[in-house]
Symmetry: C2
Subunit: 423 residues, 2 copies
């Protein structure tokens, strides 16, 4: 009955997701990013604007006519809506640092485990052409992954300006550069031989292909790589990366970054530094972004520089679950109040009310069940504390508290309940 | 460029919304409700199921065919998806108490100030036929509004069983009862004369109309109203309300509720107690719900009792803003670190890093602006603290801290920055 490629998140899953998202959000805010939300529905005009997501993604975009005959669609990312927001709010304070954690929709191939409705988390800095902004984005991404408990990830950095210069240096004509970007971007997925094959199909000479492959393989310490390239080509892209690296060092960001000249990124709109975060082997990319100084101008008519990164939240959560980096629980309830029989139901309500008015999450039986059934229910929801209300104990103004994990039982005075530490 | 009836929420609005939603969520959790999320996309089969939302709402539902030719739509509420989830998860622990705070979509009349994409917050209890469950829902709703700072609201309670018995007692035939519900539901909106008119158009006799009007006008203390009705009709609905009221008293819920026999609720699926929360005059309904013991059975083939309420979040936020019940701010940033000139930029980065690693939200200049422009920016974002980094102070291992609200300036040692209380 559920739409293919969509999911329900039951409480156990939701509690886990909320934990991850809260952590991410808090780091975004520590770095000075402010929240933004935009509608799920965008006009087709915006989604299909030249220089926005591009043709490939539009093929996967849900779209339809509303009752007024206007063509609209469900957003496929959070960057295009940001560009629209900036363009239509000319009085925004710049730089505008915003985060957005919302769902996007793509009609992808579900046989490959892709979802059609999934969460993205983006941070972007609009209105700064300084490489400080790119360093901020990278530093924040690294901080987010550190705080989530990732250890062996690293950030690959490149610059479209460098890649473009290298490709041209290898003898490729101007009008084929973007296509070469797209083919190189697939290197991880399809392997070197297929990249060569696709380049050949593009009618790029054998000689050029060999040169490209050789150039993008240059490896080493960031500074060494930049020196090597500098001997081959001239572009401000080299100095841009040098600045980013120096800023990251000053920010005391652990050197979890390296220059990877084979990093291309698939989208058309990048104009400068690009970056992608990789977890250990087998997981691949978990976040990616870069600088796009021309996209907002497409909506506003006036170029405004921007840079940002998008986190693949679904993959991050998946990995964290697989590696048990996060503990889930079935319920957030701290105390279940059980009654030994019908006679004490009113006392149960009083205790529930007492706990709740002290903002302690409390629940009780709504089905007139036996004590053992109530305990079974509390146990199945992994509620850590059960207060058992019985007549005998009530006579002494007490209740029994059972710590479910240890089985330990404590006699608790009624007057002490509200102050008790149930954690 | 934005789709009609949709909104962007810029940081100032978002920070305010997040505050309200966090409060609501925390009270939901104190009452033992657990989070659930379902997809925005639902199959048309589910949305249009008999006994779900009904024809009127389907006329306002966005729908389209996906690329596989399946008819799907955007959910118009959170109750129908809940029914689907319960039906397709037969092993759920019952009672299932869930909350869901997500967007819904309706193609409504925007000239009446209606939005086409808006937030709802629902709590429901599935699997308890006890009136305790209904009392829980009402108590939680009252607690939510209290915690948000509402004071003069009240809950109107009625029971479909009572209303049905009264309508039949007035001489209306069985097959017209539901239509009479729908007409009475409009009483607030269209007034008594129009209700009479519409009832007449339904071919209900003058005599019956007079009787209905007279009966639904019965007012007074809850217990008195129930006694009065009991002399006229017999239905278990009377005892149900009596139980709810007695439970609410035991839960020490302030008597912010009254029995209103003219409350009908527009949706078909209610089967027992119904309730609606009204703020003071002029605002009208801000939450509404009731018991629907038959809806889940439509999906699962097996009746499972359920009751719940839906909060009109957009209206609640609107009212809270109008009445200044909530303070907004333009940014969550606690400290802006300004530099007097280019020479101290590295020191700025060090201080920023220090604050952030201590989880203090910090920001700084990304545009190489003059000190006065930096202060202007910090001021326009209402950032409460500005650290001014100057060479003179640095020589003494100090920086200047300006409290923006008072203008007070403090000399702060570098080693004390991380421990300082910036709130």
């Amino acid at each position: 009955m559920r739409v293919k490629g969509t999911r329900d998140f039951l409480p156990e899953e939701m509690i886990l997701r909320q934990q991850v998202l809260e952590k991410i959000k808090s780091i975004f805010e520590v770095f000075g990013f402010q929240p933004l939300e935009t509608p799920a529905l965008e006009s087709w005009e915006v989604l299909s604007a030249k220089g926005a997501g591009g043709e490939e993604i539009l093929n996967e975009t849900y779209n339809f006519e509303d009752k007024g005959g206007r063509k609209i669609g469900l957003r496929y990312d959070l960057t295009v809506p940001l560009a629209r927001v900036v363009a239509s709010n000319p009085n925004l304070n710049l730089p505008f640092k915003r985060y957005q954690i919302e769902k996007v929709w793509r009609y992808g191939d579900i046989s490959k485990g892709r979802f059609r409705e999934f969460l993205q988390a983006d941070i972007d800095i609009v209105g700064s052409e300084s490489m400080l902004a790119d360093a901020e984005i990278i530093a924040c991404a690294i901080s987010v992954l550190n705080s989530l408990g990732f250890r062996q990830f690293f950030v690959r950095i490149n610059n479209r300006k460098i890649l473009e210069a290298l490709i041209k240096y290898a003898g490729v004509e101007n009008d084929k550069v973007m296509n070469v970007f797209r083919i190189i971007d697939k290197l991880e997925k399809i392997g070197i031989e297929n990249v060569k094959k696709e380049l050949k199909e593009m009618k790029i000479s054998e000689d050029s292909i060999e040169k490209i492959i050789e150039l993008i393989k240059i490896e080493g310490e960031p500074k060494t790589v930049l020196e090597k390239i500098e001997k081959i080509i001239k572009t401000e892209g080299i100095d841009e990366l040098r600045q980013i690296i120096s800023y990251l060092e000053k920010m005391k960001v652990e050197p979890k970054f390296k220059i990877d000249l084979s990093l291309a990124r698939g989208l058309d709109y990048y104009t400068g530094p690009i970056f992608e975060v990789f977890a250990e082997k087998g997981i691949g990319s978990i976040a990616g972004g870069g600088r796009y100084d021309k996209m907002i101008g497409l909506f506003s008519g006036k170029d405004i520089p921007a840079t940002g990164i998008s986190f693949g939240i679904e993959r991050i959560i998946e990995v964290m679950k697989e590696r048990k980096m996060i503990k889930s629980k079935k319920s957030n309830v701290k105390v279940f109040i059980a009654s030994v029989n019908e006679k004490v139901r009113d006392n149960v309500l009083e205790i529930v009310q007492l706990l709740r008015s002290n903002l302690i999450s409390a629940d009780y039986d709504l089905r007139s069940r036996s004590l053992s059934k109530q305990l079974e229910y509390a146990n199945s929801l992994e509620i850590p504390n059960v207060i058992i209300v019985g007549e005998k104990e009530l006579e002494k103004n007490c209740v029994k508290l059972r710590r479910m994990e240890t089985g330990e039982e404590i006699l608790l005075k009624l007057e002490d309940i509200a102050k008790f530490d149930f954690t």
